[in-house]
Subunit: 494 residues, 2 copies
């Protein structure tokens, strides 16, 4: 047995390398793991404006990479990221953190592959850390060790000068480390990273660090995961070929989240297409997600519905009434149910309630509900809510309100005096909203504009409405719009 380390004379609880896998099994669905890494970039401590998710090949190894333009990590933050349970994420202004438990990076990355290297640049320091199951197995580790090196920005500049004054990249990182205050301390870590990561020379590592330079902020973090997950049959868990601009889960690996017998046509695209999942991952997206070079068109879901109506739910545990938006899916009428968010992040997608569960009932088919349930507790893997009394009351109330919405729509259909069939109005959303590629704010467009016809990159200065034509102008309040408030419930008055 290894010597037990102590603090104040009392043994430390230790971490077995095998725990990395055990801990990752919480994510049964690979995209649940991807979402953890996106959340980390999104959270206010990193506060990235962009994240790039790519598939690449390094020395014959297929890799998944995640790069953000956020604040980057210093040595201390890197060590906490590679440890368990350290989280001091705080709300910054109106941005509330999604992460709470300090486990998302570990459980997420180790679900996606066996090994991960994190390269980061913050304002004054560059850092590299490695969490690798293959490495720990090869060295026969009895505890989880995490090689970390850091280089001060000033030292890095000297390195660049050195390499370029020599006209080559052959100068030595060791020389560089010679300058650094903490050089000796990091030597063993550097050796292990070079020996067991995909970057076997200091130059390769430094070149990879340089890639973080490519964005305007000059800070950010680059995560590279290799030895990607495989199915029990030995196939790659991801499909990179069906769509060159997407990362998909092959249909034999994953078809449906919950109902095995659901028809394939009604399986939401978000369960097998990362692009589709990312487009609805945040209720109000504030960070641009790019998958394999192509930006994800985020979908402001509550604004993409037809025949929209507002309702509200008052949980016993909180004072405010929580708004619910109901409406018809304008894209596919087979994908319906409640979209349940928590602090802006999608937890349950297309969750069918009440009459939607009854196969012989046509009510509720095609209807989407959107609610942000900050008063509920997400489960460990953020793919469900804790099944407690609060949750059950919420679902039960959503079922009732959905039926009321359906009755209201039926009543209106009966009364419809204009000549447009109601079915046709379901083909296009009540409102058209577009996100500015620069400020990431959402702008409402006048009726008659089809958002599909807009350019890939749309900016505030293209807005036909002069009132919202500049990025400096704050977003229009969602509640100021012309949606039908549900409490009128005209069908009941009759």
């Amino acid at each position: 047995m290894f010597t037990v380390q102590v603090a104040r004379g009392v043994p430390l609880s230790t971490l077995c390398p095998k725990f990395l896998h055990a801990n990752s099994t919480s994510h049964t669905w690979p995209f649940s793991a991807v979402a953890e890494l996106i959340d980390n970039a999104y959270d206010p401590d990193v506060d990235a404006k962009q994240i790039w998710i790519d598939k690449t090949q390094i020395k014959d190894k297929e890799c998944l990479t995640f790069m953000d333009d956020g604040n980057g990590l210093n040595y201390h933050k890197m060590h906490r990221m590679l440890s368990f349970g350290y989280s001091d994420k705080k709300a910054v202004g109106s941005k509330h953190p999604i992460g709470r438990y300090g486990n998302g990076f570990k459980s997420g990355s180790m679900r996606l592959g066996l090994d991960v290297i994190v390269l980061s640049k913050s304002e004054d320091v560059m850092c590299v850390g490695m969490l690798s199951q293959s490495y720990l197995t090869q060295i026969g580790a009895e505890q989880i060790t995490v090689p970390i090196i850091s280089i001060k920005e000033t030292e890095a500049k000297k390195y660049i000068l050195l390499t370029f004054s020599n006209g080559s990249l052959l100068s030595s990182w060791s020389l560089l480390l010679g300058y650094s205050v903490c050089s000796e301390e990091h030597r063993a870590s550097l050796q292990d990273i070079l020996r067991y990561s995909l970057f076997n020379t200091e130059e390769e590592l430094f070149t990879e660090l340089q890639a973080i330079n490519a964005n305007r902020s000059n800070t950010g973090t680059r995560i590279i995961i290799w030895n990607l997950g495989r199915t029990s049959a030995g196939n790659m868990e991801y499909d990179f070929t069906t769509d060159r601009y997407d990362i998909r889960i092959p249909s034999d690996v994953f078809v449906s989240t919950s109902e095995p017998e659901r028809a394939v046509s009604s399986v939401p695209e978000s369960t097998f297409s990362l692009r589709a999942y990312c487009s609805v991952l945040y209720l109000k997206p504030r960070m641009q997600i790019n998958i394999r070079g192509l930006k994800v068109k985020t979908r402001l879901i509550s604004k993409s519905l037809a025949c929209t109506a507002k309702d509200a739910y008052k949980p016993t545990s909180v004072k405010q009434r929580i708004p619910i938006t109901f409406g018809y899916n304008t894209k596919s009428e087979e994908q319906y149910g409640i979209m349940m968010y928590h602090k802006n992040r999608l937890i349950k997608a297309y969750h069918r309630v009440g009459c939607q569960l009854n196969a012989s009932n046509v009510n509720g088919i095609g209807v989407i509900g959107v609610i942000e349930c900050n008063f509920l507790e997400p489960t460990h893997n953020k793919q469900d809510f804790e099944n407690n009394d609060n949750y059950r009351k919420t679902i039960s109330s959503l079922a009732t309100k959905l039926e009321e919405y359906c009755k209201e729509i039926q009543y209106k259909r009966g009364k419809a005096s204009n000549n447009v069939p109601v079915e046709d109005t379901e083909k296009s959303p009540d409102q058209n909203w577009v996100q500015c590629s620069s400020c990431q704010q959402w702008r409402k467009l006048p009726d008659g504009i089809n958002t599909d016809d807009l350019p890939e990159n749309w900016f505030c200065n293209m807005n036909p409405d002069p009132q919202f034509r500049r990025c400096e102008i704050e977003e229009e309040l969602a509640d100021s719009d012309s949606e039908q408030p549900m409490n009128q419930k005209t069908y009941k008055k009759q």
Copy 2:
């Protein structure tokens, strides 16, 4: 920041005290956490014959206690139990371990309460360890420390002699530690345990250790959990009063596992009664579970059904055909669905499939299916299976086979020439099995004996069948019985 500990010059990944809670959130249902602690006693490394689960009060604190008569822990095993991911559980004979990840004790105990103390006696040593969120908070720990002390059996005997020769219990553990080889090493741990656990003197602690003596094996482990979980409304998460011999979850805390709108009458008792859950927790129970002093009558579920029929499922991933038993629930016709086990342990209970999901269909109501799915992967909290292709194929096949079973029963009902209505045959099981209180083996009783009339403690020597009247005789093979093999499918032949 605390000094980062290193191994071979490389930083160790560390554990934040807050991770104890984070890690426990995997168990959304309290009994899921209880099951982890029962599994630990059941697994072949501990190999307990009995476990006693009790509610007690120590110094005004409500406590849950778990005591087993298994092999006990030495210092090394205790440290691994209080660390993360160390598991070297191996199959012993035909007993396969349920635990794999070395996380059950941590996630389970920390879900049930804030603090836990483990007292253990193995053949030659006594050990005490503490995992306490309150303690770590109070000392302002930045890493998880786990106070552990161990005393050699010989030293403990000296201690007893000393205390009793003095005619009092006032003699000092410190004196005892003076004899021990590792005394100095454990002094800080002992101080922290006495200061922060419910046992504040060496005598109290030693008295508690003595309690493990009470069983025949003289070895075993006693787990005491305090500062028990409370609901957000501040109420105790457990109901100890409705049934003096049970531990229940109040209905406002937990009514249903999955379908919020299921009628209360159809919620399986096992979701809110620990006694009911423990009675079906193992497919073939080998360990006696006692709750609050009263033994749990384990239910050999596949033997408690009426109109039983056998079928089998051949997964693509394994060579054997996996037996399935279908039959009617003889206790309650509202509790039905598939009982899915994994390595003898219940994973999903009363999981409705196929026609059972269709509310307007009467087929499948009251029918229970039993299958042991060792070829599937349980999820992180052992309350579900990974939703992969294998799982979906299994569920789909179970749905088909359930419908075939229903058709077969319907056909037989039509053909029934005897005068006993089929409905009446569903009131009593096809066979009567009883478990011996001594050897824990199951014995089949002749027809006409009602197991409810048997004494609380039944032994092999009471068996009317002389062939199986002694504990030394091996259990009758389950497959040797007279059940109707499904592959006859008489209804198809017509």
